[in-house]
């Protein structure tokens, strides 16, 4: 497999810790804090948006998984597999043992996704580029077919219900559970987002990201590129799993559509839209995507795909850094102006 010279432009959202004007950085950090505060306030300020945010955060966690892989220059067209496996793991658990606790369901889902990713990962980490993407696609489609075929167990295309789990032992009503889910998602978003950023900067994360630029050198550092890729692959799948099982609980039902290839492509789509390689971009992208999709399908039912497609084209052609790139350049301009005034 050749290391291509024109590697994916996924550094857009990456700000090297050493560089970058510090006023801009602090202004941006402030923006993120305001953003998180706004997300926390949504259920009270704009309850009608709560569900949109719930879905966006769950999907954003999945996109975060795809973002991890993009950092190694790899793109998977089958990561919905892990989104779906986790959701089904949760649903099967709830069916087998009703009134299981919410935390157990979450853990079961993530465990399912992680185990599956080790199994699939051992195979796919031998491949790069298009082959890597296509093999992931093949595995997700195989799982999809299995879900459809074994309909006695999986409910086929109709899927299976993921009953509302208990929360620390108490059965909650619909609205309370929705609230819990929402704030757990906020916590997961912040916590896992923070962890992923740390991971990117950590020794293991850096070794993983060198897959993108130079596997030869990596090999000559005494590191197995496959192992390095596997570490990120499993992380990415686990993140997708968190997103998937949370989405399953939010929806109350899981269907094979979770695994369908268009879902995988959609996650890559959102990752690039938000700013490929950027943690914040994953969530920002997911929010914008869900909003456009929801409102476009309501107000422009016939052309919502067209609107999304056009949106993506504009981003790629005119703002390759994605939404995060646009934000950063806005802040850069502002802080440059300030700097000039000194």
């Amino acid at each position: 497999m050749s290391t291509r010279t024109d590697q994916p432009d996924t550094t857009a959202g990456k700000t090297s810790p050493e560089k970058g004007a510090s006023p801009m950085k602090s202004a941006l950090s402030l923006l993120w804090i305001i953003g998180i505060a706004a997300v926390v306030a949504v259920p009270f300020v704009a309850p009608s948006l709560k569900l949109l945010f719930t879905f966006a955060m769950a999907k954003g966690l999945g996109v975060l998984g795809v973002t991890v892989l993009l950092r190694a220059g790899q793109v998977s067209f089958g990561h919905a597999l892990y989104f779906g496996i986790a959701a089904y793991a949760g649903a099967f658990l709830m069916t087998a043992m009703p009134s299981t606790d919410f935390l157990i369901v979450l853990l079961a889902g993530v465990a399912g996704a992680t185990l599956a990713s080790i199994f699939v990962g051992l195979f796919v980490v031998r491949y790069r580029g298009i082959f890597f993407g296509m093999l992931n696609l093949a595995f997700s489609m195989i799982f999809w077919s299995i879900l459809e075929k074994f309909y006695h167990y999986t409910g086929g295309a109709d899927g299976i219900r993921l009953e509302r789990p208990t929360v620390f032992g108490s059965a909650l009503n619909f609205n309370d559970f929705g609230m819990i889910l929402y704030y757990v998602l906020v916590a997961l978003m912040v916590g896992l987002g923070w962890y992923t950023m740390r991971w990117f900067n950590s020794p293991v994360g850096n070794l993983f990201q060198t897959i993108k630029t130079n596997e030869t050198r990596l090999e000559y550092l005494g590191v197995s590129p496959k192992r390095a890729l596997l570490s990120g692959y499993v992380l990415s799948a686990a993140l997708c799993g968190v997103g998937g099982v949370m989405m399953g609980m939010a929806q109350g039902v899981v269907t094979p559509e979770y695994v369908w290839w268009v879902r995988s492509a959609e996650m890559v789509f959102i990752a690039v839209l938000g700013g490929a390689g950027s943690v914040q971009g994953a969530f920002l992208g997911a929010l914008i995507y869900e909003a456009v999709r929801t409102y476009a399908s309501v107000y422009a039912g016939d052309v919502w795909q067209m609107i999304l497609g056009g949106f993506l084209l504009i981003i790629i052609l005119f703002a390759p850094g994605g939404l995060i790139g646009i934000l950063e350049s806005l802040f850069k301009r502002k802080s440059d102006k300030k700097g000039g005034g000194k």
């Binding site: 259920p43 309909y151 929360v167 620390f168 309370d176 559509e257 039912g301």
Partner: protein, 433 residues
């Protein structure tokens, strides 16, 4: 301890945040309702006609002054945009869009998602088209009603018609879409057949994937096997492709096709669907309904619909008409029963219990488990030359009461208990065309 505090905090927060829900019995300016349907994707062959029909019917109702002077305002949600978009838009419509009643949905999967959601949101939901029999057999619902039959009576009527018109067949093969409907309908059909005519041999079972563009291999095999009867509960493009390809290769001349959903494809199949095949309509739905075709309201609507869309009506149009008839019927009943200007939600729910209403077909009654009891129309295809496509002859309309799984029983278990006598005992009306 911790959880208690948390729960209390959450509840307090909720209480302060939730808008006060008032059950205003005052007459609203308009009655807002929402309807989910496939406006995109393969199932839009059902969704788009249903939407067009609903729009016409509501226009007609509003032209006559609405319900007790209140006009109806309908908004649609595209089921084709995916489950998230569907549920979030459904919730938005109910929680902040002011929708009083929801009509959902076409997909059985979506019905399974939405039924508990409607219960949680406490919004009356009329399941207007989905076929799964599981909903009321697995759970009790207060807010969810089904204004049409489900898969069980639809399949039993087909079996009954087949046994009455072609009692001597020996072999059968099935070609169904590979998803829940295809599998479930075959489960019911084959179980019923085994119970009523145990000597029939199933020679092949095919479940090509949903949306399959090619059935050549299946058709080759069926030609080699030469079964007496070929069942397919497929619909839309899949059914069209299968029947067209089978017709091109002469399979329609050697086997009798049993197509419980073909009423919705008659126009598109044109000359491909030759004489002598069994066609169903998921209820008593047929644009030449033998009992209704001379009625003034029926004719007027058919004309309106054809002018608007250029097509003849198919069963989702009838299903939409039933849901809207149930809606108006329930409001009118609640208003009359309680002698109010406008009913509260509880009064509306009470009116829906046991309601009888009539759309474009025969009257439908809601049972105590909220399942509608709908009669079933089945016929045999014939190319008369009057239309550029097949119409029906030897039509039977079966009594829905006898075909519907008794309250509290599970369909498959109940169907297993039936026997050959069931077909003889069933009451039906017969029409030449």
């Amino acid at each position: 301890m911790k959880t208690k505090i948390m729960k209390r905090t959450v509840s307090a927060l909720l209480a302060s945040a939730m808008p006060v829900v008032a059950f205003a019995a005052d007459k609203p300016d308009s009655l807002k309702i929402g309807m989910t349907a496939f406006l995109t994707g393969p199932a839009s062959v059902f969704g788009v006609p249903a939407r067009d029909a609903a729009e016409i019917m509501i226009e007609n109702i509003n032209a006559k002054g609405g319900i007790n002077g209140v006009p109806i305002e309908i908004n649609f949600i595209d089921e084709g945009a995916g489950a998230e978009a569907l549920t979030s838009e459904y919730r938005r419509m109910v929680q902040s869009g002011g929708a009083e009643v929801m009509l959902a949905s076409i997909s059985s999967g979506n019905c399974q998602t939405i039924a508990p959601l409607a219960e949680d949101l406490q919004v009356p939901n009329l399941m207007w088209d989905c076929g799964t029999q599981r909903i009321f057999e697995e759970n009790d619902y207060k807010y969810v009603f089904r204004t049409q039959a489900n898969a069980t009576p639809e399949m039993l009527a087909t079996v009954a018609y087949l046994l009455k018109t072609k009692p001597d067949f020996k072999t059968i093969a099935v070609v169904n879409q590979d998803y829940a409907w295809g599998r479930d309908s075959w489960d019911i059909f084959s179980t019923a057949l085994k119970a009523m005519k145990p000597d029939v041999e199933v020679v092949a079972e095919f479940f090509p994937k949903f949306g399959s563009p090619d059935f050549s291999t299946e058709i080759s095999r069926l030609q080699a096997l030469q079964p007496d009867v070929i069942l397919s509960t497929s619909w839309g493009g899949d059914l069209d492709t299968f029947v067209q390809q089978a017709s091109q290769r002469g399979l329609l001349n050697t086997s009798t096709f049993v197509l419980p959903l073909a009423e919705s494809s008659l126009e598109r199949l044109g000359a491909a669907l030759t004489d002598g095949h069994i066609v169903g309509a998921r209820g008593d739905h047929y644009f030449l309904h033998p009992e209704r075709r001379n009625d003034e309201d029926f004719q007027a609507f058919m004309k309106q619909y054809e002018e608007k869309t250029g097509d003849v009506s198919v069963y989702p149009v009838f299903h939409a008409s039933q849901a809207i008839a149930a809606l108006t019927g329930a409001y009118e009943k609640a208003i009359a029963d309680n002698s109010v200007d406008w009913p509260s939600e509880d009064q509306l729910l009470a009116a829906l219990e046991g309601l009888t209403f009539q759309g474009l077909g025969r009257p439908v009654t809601l049972r105590e488990d909220n399942q509608g009891v709908e009669d079933q129309l089945i016929g045999t295809s014939v190319q008369t030359g009057e239309y550029p496509f097949a119409t029906l002859e030897n039509i039977m309309i079966f009594d829905g009461d006898q075909l519907t799984t008794p309250v509290g029983e599970i369909s498959i278990e109940w169907v297993k208990t039936l026997d050959a006598g069931f077909v003889d005992a069933i009451s039906f009306d017969q029409f030449d065309n």
